[in-house]
């Protein structure tokens, strides 16, 4: 148990080891650990952000869906309304067309009737004249009787 030069040797080697540790061991290890710490923090941050983004996107998606449903309901309503409108319109049109056809037919009928009546009237004059000629057996003064006969025919 003597104090001897071992002590000096230990001092010197201690100094060398501390210097070596200070220069070549400590800095790279601490740097690597710090870097990993930063990496992990970044990763956790990113995960948080992604979580928030996901929630946001989900909210947006449900909003969109709701909007779309409302839009669809509006469109369907409008379409129904429009359809009934179209039906009404075509009904109206058909009725008008029918009425128009009826009136046209009636006018034609009247026209035909008038024409027939005119023809009849003119033929009645001729017939009456012929009848009267036969009755009288002679040709009476055509000019004097014509007025009388036409007067008779107008009364028909």
């Amino acid at each position: 148990m003597n104090i001897n030069a071992t002590l000096l040797g230990q001092v010197i080697s201690f100094a060398i080891f501390v210097w070596f540790c200070l220069k070549f061991v400590w800095p790279p290890l601490i740097a690597a650990m710090e870097e990993r710490k930063a990496k992990i923090a970044d990763g956790l941050d990113a995960a948080d952000r992604a979580m928030r983004d996901l929630e946001l996107a989900q909210n947006k998606a449900t909003d969109r869906l709701k909007e779309a449903k409302q839009d669809a309901a509006v469109i369907i309503d409008e379409a129904k309304k429009r359809a009934s409108q179209i039906v009404e319109e075509s009904k109206d049109k058909a009725r008008e067309e029918g009425e128009r056809l009826i009136t046209a037919a009636q006018a034609e009928i009247e026209q035909e009737a008038n024409r027939a009546r005119e023809q009849l009237r003119s033929q009645v004059v001729v017939l009456a004249l012929a009848g009267a000629e036969k009755v009288l057996e002679r040709s009476v003064d055509d000019e004097t009787n014509r007025a009388l006969v036409e007067q008779l025919a107008a009364q028909l």
Partner: protein, 273 residues
């Protein structure tokens, strides 16, 4: 027991004698053949065994840590890097909690102290006769395996730390500030001689207690292993196993205390009063 032909006293003193290389009385250089011969060599002799193991363990520590530090991954660390980082983080946490000044030297110093002292202490767990008997087979007379049971080793480290404490005290406070701290402290300027005496004792007690604490703990621990080894071989395990298990605690604890006290002393050296 090593052999039946030697007495217990011889066995114990054999285990406590270093393999010392130095100058003999007749002027020739060589290994000492007894404790007395080693003591007669004076200061200029080297305990080859403890110093050799100390150097070997220091180099081993540096090699392993440098291996990891050369290409540390910032991703998922493997087994060795994990272990190294655990130690580094442990030391770093301790330094951060105790040392609040700017000094890049303290943390690596703490790491070196912790790992080196720990490795030196762990040598104590190698069964007491393994390496000495192996040495005997190779013609080495004495072999003390645990460096931290050599007072030269522990005091060498403690004195280095003392030098650092004085250096940083003067660097931080100037020579005047350091002198004032030593002379004006407990009793003001009228009690200067008393102050100086108290403070110098206080200052010197730091390295001495630091070195002697480690030495004493490990020396005592080894001594008990030696005494247990004197028992009949079939009874040794009953005591050596519990003691070894308990000793694990002392080994780590002493390395930790050495590191913590170093950090605390350096922090005190940086503090302004």
């Amino acid at each position: 027991m090593a052999s039946e032909t030697i007495t217990a006293e011889e066995y114990i003193s054999h285990h406590l004698t270093n393999l010392t290389y130095g100058q003999h009385h007749d002027g020739s250089w060589g290994f000492a053949h007894s404790a007395q011969e080693a003591a007669d060599m004076g200061f200029w002799a080297v305990n080859v065994d403890t110093f050799g193991f100390s150097l070997f363990l220091g180099v081993l520590f540096m090699f392993v840590f440098r291996l990891v530090a050369k290409s540390p991954t910032t991703g998922v660390p493997g087994g060795l890097q994990n272990m190294v980082e655990m130690v580094v983080e442990f030391v770093d946490d301790n330094v951060k909690s105790m040392f609040h000044h700017k000094n890049n030297m303290v943390a690596p110093l703490g790491l070196t102290i912790f790992m080196w002292v720990l490795l030196m202490n762990i040598m104590d767990l190698i069964p007491i006769d393994f390496l000495p008997e192996a040495g005997k087979a190779m013609g080495i007379h004495f072999l003390k395996v645990v460096p931290s049971t050599d007072i030269n080793i522990t005091m060498g480290m403690a004195l280095s730390i003392f030098v650092l404490v004085v250096y940083y005290s003067i660097k931080q406070k100037g020579i005047g500030g350091f002198a004032a701290e030593l002379s004006l402290h407990p009793f003001g300027k009228w009690g200067l001689p008393v102050n100086l005496f108290l403070e110098v004792v206080n200052l010197l007690a730091k390295p001495i207690s630091l070195g002697l604490r480690l030495f004493g703990n490990l020396y005592a621990g080894e001594m008990i292993f030696i005494l247990i080894a004197l028992l009949p071989f079939w009874a040794q395990w009953a005591l050596s196993v519990p003691w070894a298990i308990f000793h694990i605690l002392i080994i780590v604890l002493q390395a930790f205390i050495f590191m913590v006290l170093t950090i605390v002393y350096l922090a005190m050296a940086h503090d302004e009063h």
